[in-house]
């Protein structure tokens, strides 16, 4: 492509050559940066990307949020529907979080059923919301044994530039905070549930928390908030979830092992980040 101008390299040619090098040898490309204690997007290792949260802009949802973390963009909308509770849990509602990674958000996804990545992320998000007890499911009860609320927390990634987990969890939590439910009454005679449009109340959230993800390269370089380019090159991916009181909720690690020292370091960084993110909500 650039063979004609090898004799006289211009700035545009240099960028193009850098791009080709990045495509062909991504790992070496990244290592050249990390050797200088920098990352390809100009961040230092422990620098976060800018985060913005915008809530309540979708009128068809009962609660919604749009989160941008660097270029990663996730929209989340909560839809409340009425369902019959499980027989053995007559007073418990349902919380159903899902993440969709559609073909629009990145060239690596194709149209069709959820990719493996989307399935794993949905599962982890579900676990994060359930184990942390963000919402008591019995607060979703309309009439024991007859009618409960089901909250579908659906997220869609519009632009995938890495760390979709943190962005999505943040979007889901922001959307849940933004959610209001209409006052519902169950009529025992007709077996129907009717709602009032005027009388809406917010959800009672039990706990506030945030997740923070890191990528570890060659056991020593800990990159916080990795981008789509960095993510697949990491040796270890680590996610730490802490609540607003600094209490650890869970950690999730995949790939090769990391030292305890690194883990502790990441946890304390995560606490810092969590309180930053809480302020955004």
């Amino acid at each position: 492509m650039s063979s004609s101008s090898i004799t006289k390299p211009s700035a545009a040619d240099d960028t193009l050559r850098a791009q080709i090098f990045q495509r062909l040898h991504p790992r070496v490309y990244l290592e050249r940066f990390t050797a200088e204690k920098f990352r390809p997007d100009g961040r230092t290792f422990d620098e976060w990307r800018k985060v913005s949260v915008n809530v309540g802009s979708i009128s068809t949802a009962d609660g919604s949020a749009l989160v941008r973390m660097g270029d990663t963009t996730v929209v989340c909308g909560v839809k409340a529907e009425v369902a019959e509770p499980d027989l053995d849990l007559p007073e418990q509602g349902f919380l159903v979080p899902n993440l969709d990674l559609p073909a629009i958000c990145s060239p690596k996804f194709k149209p069709g059923p959820p990719t493996e990545e989307a399935q794993v992320l949905s599962d982890r998000l579900n676990e994060a919301l359930v184990t942390s007890g963000v919402l008591s499911l019995s607060s979703l009860c309309i009439h024991p044994g007859k009618a409960v609320w089901t909250l579908y927390v659906d997220s869609t990634c519009i632009n995938y530039d890495g760390n979709a987990f943190d962005a999505t969890l943040l979007a889901m939590l922001a959307a849940l905070r933004n959610t209001t439910l209409p006052k519902a009454t169950y009529d025992e005679e007709t077996g129907r549930t009717t709602c009032s449009r005027k009388n809406r109340s917010p959800l009672q959230l039990e706990r506030h928390f945030a997740s923070t993800s890191f990528g570890v390269l060659e056991t020593s370089h800990v990159l916080s908030d990795p981008t789509a380019f960095e993510e697949p090159l990491m040796d270890v991916a680590l996610t730490v979830i802490v609540d607003d009181h600094g209490q650890l909720i869970s950690t999730n690690e995949s790939g090769a092992g990391i030292s305890q020292e690194t883990l502790l370091q990441c946890i304390s960084r995560a606490k810092e980040r969590a309180s930053q993110l809480q302020r955004l909500l």
Binding site: S59, E81, E84, V96, N98, P102, I104, R192
Partner: protein, 257 residues
């Protein structure tokens, strides 16, 4: 609505759930059909090219409540082995589950396809597909919020054309599109969902104003031929305005970059 039970690829809720029923649904509908702008006015358009960094070209369009993101990937190699002299344009539309009054289960349904077909029709003749043999241009559209299918088709066509231009794909002209509904004896341009439901017929017109031609006409419901022509003429006038909005936003995006 009910979800396909036992889909192991997603987190599943209860087997069945229903949209809440409100005590004052009828009043609410009446309230929504009231139009706050003049019959010939369209909803204000916010159009921003280039928001999706991963794509070759992209655009985000917002017309009042309707919110649509569109990304263009390609031209890239067509996966099938058969040789094609012309490039292929592939349009896929996806609704987010929370985009409509009723939750849409995240499975492809008939509406996605018919929307994709009409958007394809609106933009296909603007692209110089003969320049891209053996290639596919993918246009992916996500409807984040829907306030009227007619408006969605029109806005998505505009966004798609903007995204194609943003991707640097050669075209004969920019496509703009506008919809109209007949409510009583009046023509309401760019109808909302409630307005379209209350109307006796709708028209969606897509055209390339720079070349003064029409790429798609999509009429449903019933109306006389004269009324249909009147709708098309009104839409065409608005398309010229929309065209300048598209051109302006692309220009601003270029100079900012």
């Amino acid at each position: 609505m009910a979800q396909s039970a036992g889909d192991r690829r997603r987190i599943n809720g209860p087997e069945e759930s229903f949209s809440p029923v409100f005590d004052d649904d009828e009043e609410d509908i009446k309230l929504k059909t009231q139009r706050s702008r003049a019959a010939g006015d369209i909803r204000p358009i916010f159009l921003q090219p280039g928001l999706i960094s991963q794509a070759n070209g992209s655009a985000y369009i917002e017309t009042d409540k309707t919110k649509i993101a569109c990304a263009v990937y390609g031209p890239r190699q067509t996966k099938t082995t058969t040789y094609s002299e012309k490039g292929r344009l592939n349009v896929e539309v996806k609704f987010t589950p929370f985009s409509c009054m009723r939750r849409r289960a995240p499975i492809r349904d008939a509406e996605d396809r018919s929307l994709a077909v009409s958007i394809h029709q609106a933009i296909v003749s603007s692209i110089r597909l003969e320049l891209f043999p053996k290639s596919t241009i993918d246009v992916f559209i996500t409807i984040i919020e829907n306030d009227g299918i007619e408006g969605c088709i029109a806005s998505a066509s505009v966004a798609a054309s903007t995204a194609l231009a943003d991707a640097g794909i050669e075209m004969l002209g920019l496509v703009s599109a506008c919809s109209a509904a007949i409510v009583g004896d009046d023509i309401h341009l760019d109808p909302s969902e409630a307005e379209a439901r209350a109307s006796s017929g709708t028209v969606i017109l897509a055209c390339m104003p720079a070349l003064d031609n029409v790429t798609s006409v999509w009429q449903s419901g019933h109306m006389t031929a004269d009324m249909a022509l009147k709708c098309m003429e009104r839409c065409h006038e608005r398309c010229i305005d929309i065209h300048s909005i598209v051109a302006q936003s692309l220009l601003e995006h270029r100079t900012a970059a």
